[in-house]
């Protein structure tokens, strides 16, 4: 005897890979049947249907809310009938945004990008599931087994003692245990409504320091709505290559362009998944993975990354607490050994307006990270000091760090990686808990630029 059917086990049918049919009954008793662009899993008791046009289906469910969906498994061709009852329509918020992003992929896959526009997410309660008899293909197991991958990754994160170790371990786990080759990890700056890349894998450029505003693309929407966003097919309006072009077109000023760090990314990803990394209710970061293969990231992978992200988020939050406490107890500075400077002096410019720092003619970084670097270089130039503590930065009002949850450590990691990407004569290295060292091997001259 077969076990009771659960929507949790039928999620592949709810990916929009094979269109479902929906049958409704009109007030005159006549049936109506149409294809559904998107039928989406909400939870074990609910599904959502995309509402794109006012049509007969909609007219019918408003009058008679019970309908039947005929859906097909995209791998086995198994068929199921769902009896569903219409509850409500959501026109904004997490479910709407998840559906909108997913629909963009489906629309583009079906050549319907100009036609499919989501008006609402119609939420239905599932009242019954019936397996329709008939031939099926055996299920195909693709990709790594997710529970063991999750278990190993959680264990790896538990062994991490610092923010940097957490970041690197998380990325390594995604590559090694989940076989995810293209990934970004972005820290959230909630006050500024932006995310900045702190680590990446699988690209020619690390992109450390590149920014994405909340609400823009898969990553920005995941951050704004605090919900995973997953797309199964290439969706041009969510691709970051297009976003960059749009930004360039809208920006106008050449100056504006040169202070943008290019986002790494596949030119035309076929599958995308962005998962918000939360510490309780606070957004800490967003993890993003992409692939050239269509339908590569399923519901189960999304679940696994949300679970892993929850461990990462809480561990990062714990790290920040420890860092703040230990930073306050940092031991006195050791005598630094001055490096031998060689080569031509580098002209370093700083724009106070946005904190941006240029090394020679090359843009390096802006914002808080830019302000931190400028402060370090000024102190170095003034006193020759190369050892610094997190605590002194935290106490410096000029840097504008928020009093709680400043994420200084993450900003230092980003600055360190950006410097590694961009120059070989200036760097930042950790020098014990709550301390770090500025490594300078060429002479510098500092210039404050007032004009924007």
């Amino acid at each position: 005897m077969s076990r009771a059917l659960s929507l949790d086990r039928l999620r592949p049918c709810l990916e929009g890979i094979v269109p479902s049919g929906i049958a409704t009954c009109g007030v005159d008793g006549m049936p109506n049947i149409t294809y559904v662009s998107q039928l989406m899993y909400v939870d074990p008791e609910h599904v959502a249907l995309s509402f794109q046009f006012f049509n007969k289906t909609r007219e019918n469910i408003v009058a008679n809310p019970v309908a039947t969906v005929l859906m097909m498994d995209p791998d086995t061709a198994a068929r199921y009938r769902l009896t569903i009852r219409y509850l409500r329509t959501e026109t904004e918020g997490p479910l709407f945004e998840r559906m909108k992003a997913k629909l963009a992929g489906i629309a583009s896959h079906e050549g319907m990008s100009d036609v499919f526009r989501l008006l609402g997410a119609d939420v239905y309660r599932v009242q019954g599931i019936e397996a329709v008899p008939g031939r099926e293909s055996p299920p195909v197991a693709g990709g790594p087994a997710l529970l063991p991958a999750l278990r190993r990754s959680v264990d790896a994160l538990a062994a991490c003692q610092s923010m940097e170790a957490l970041i690197d371990s998380f990325c390594t786990c995604l590559t090694r245990h989940f076989d995810l080759q293209h990934q970004l990890l972005l820290m959230a700056d909630e006050a500024a409504g932006r995310l900045y890349i702190v680590a990446s894998r699988g690209y020619a450029q690390s992109g450390a320091g590149a920014e994405i505003p909340f609400g823009v693309g898969v990553i920005g929407v995941a951050a704004r709505e605090r919900v995973p966003i997953r797309i199964m097919f290439p969706a041009t309006e969510y691709a970051y290559s297009r976003m960059l072009r749009d930004q360039a077109a809208a920006g106008g000023l050449a100056e504006r362009l040169e202070t943008v760090i290019p986002l790494p990314g596949l030119p035309a990803p076929a599958s995308q998944l962005a998962v918000p990394i939360m510490a309780g209710r606070r957004l800490v970061a967003v993890a993003y993975v992409e692939s050239q293969r269509e339908c590569h990231f399923g519901y189960d992978l999304e679940d696994a990354l949300v679970a892993l992200g929850s461990t990462l988020g809480l561990s990062m939050a714990a790290c920040l607490c420890v860092e703040t406490v230990e930073g306050a107890e940092a031991e006195p500075e050791e005598a630094a050994v001055a490096a031998v400077l060689a080569g031509e002096a580098v002209r370093v410019r700083h724009y106070a307006r946005d904190g941006s720092v240029f090394l020679g003619d090359d843009y390096l970084i802006k914002g808080v990270a830019g302000a931190i670097l400028w402060r370090l270089l000024q102190e170095y130039q003034r006193s020759g000091r190369t050892q610094f503590s997190n605590r002194e930065l935290r106490l410096d009002p000029a840097l504008g760090l928020p009093e709680v949850a400043d994420n200084l450590e993450a900003r230092l990691i980003l600055l360190q990686r950006r410097l590694r990407d961009r120059c070989d004569w200036l760097g930042i290295e950790k020098a014990g808990r709550g301390r770090f060292r500025l490594d300078v091997t060429r002479p510098v001259t500092l210039h404050v630029e007032e004009a924007g």
Binding site: G29, M30, N32, S37, M72, R81, S137
Partner: protein, 166 residues
């Protein structure tokens, strides 16, 4: 009651061209149900449309049709997304004709060809529309209404005489 117009020849050709087929019926309590069909034929005078389906998959549909005869069928060409719905009130359950079983393979092959540009593997399509000849049952009806359902703002528009919804 006057007999409705026969189906437009272009529509008759479209619905028999190995497109995707789903048939819906409603029971007397107002619950709609549906089944995927595995073949379609049109009578010589184009007044009667017949859908073929596996009886084992169609139980709730057949019970509803036996009760009230109301049917709706959606025809969809996957690549172009051209979609048409026909409705009737005189649906009848019939045994298949001798040629119907022989039409199953050409339908599966034709439908698979239509899905090939969307990267749907042929074995998948054959599994989806497989039907044992002894399991085959037919539902025929007189189409009274035709609706263009190709996605877009004009979807759901009722077609007048001579319109093909293209």
């Amino acid at each position: 009651m006057t007999s409705p117009d026969p189906l437009d020849p272009a529509l008759a050709e479209f619905i028999t061209s190995h497109v995707s087929l789903q048939l819906a019926a409603t029971d007397d309590a107002g619950l709609a149900t549906a089944v995927r069909c595995v073949g379609c034929r049109v009578s010589a005078d184009r007044r009667r449309v017949t859908l073929l389906m596996p009886r084992s998959q169609a139980a709730p549909v057949l019970a509803s049709i036996a009760a009230n005869g109301r049917v709706a069928v959606v025809f969809n060409e996957p690549k172009s997304y051209r979609t048409l719905q026909l409705k009737g009130r005189d649906g009848r359950i019939e045994p298949p004709l001798p040629d119907d079983a022989a039409a199953l393979q050409p339908y599966a092959a034709g439908f698979a060809r239509r899905l090939a540009p969307l990267d749907v593997p042929e074995p998948y399509v054959r599994t989806l529309v497989s039907c044992a000849p002894e399991d085959l049952v037919a539902v025929s009806f007189t189409p009274l209404e035709a609706y263009a359902q190709t996605p877009g703002p004009r979807a759901g528009r009722r077609l007048g005489p001579g319109e093909t919804g293209e």
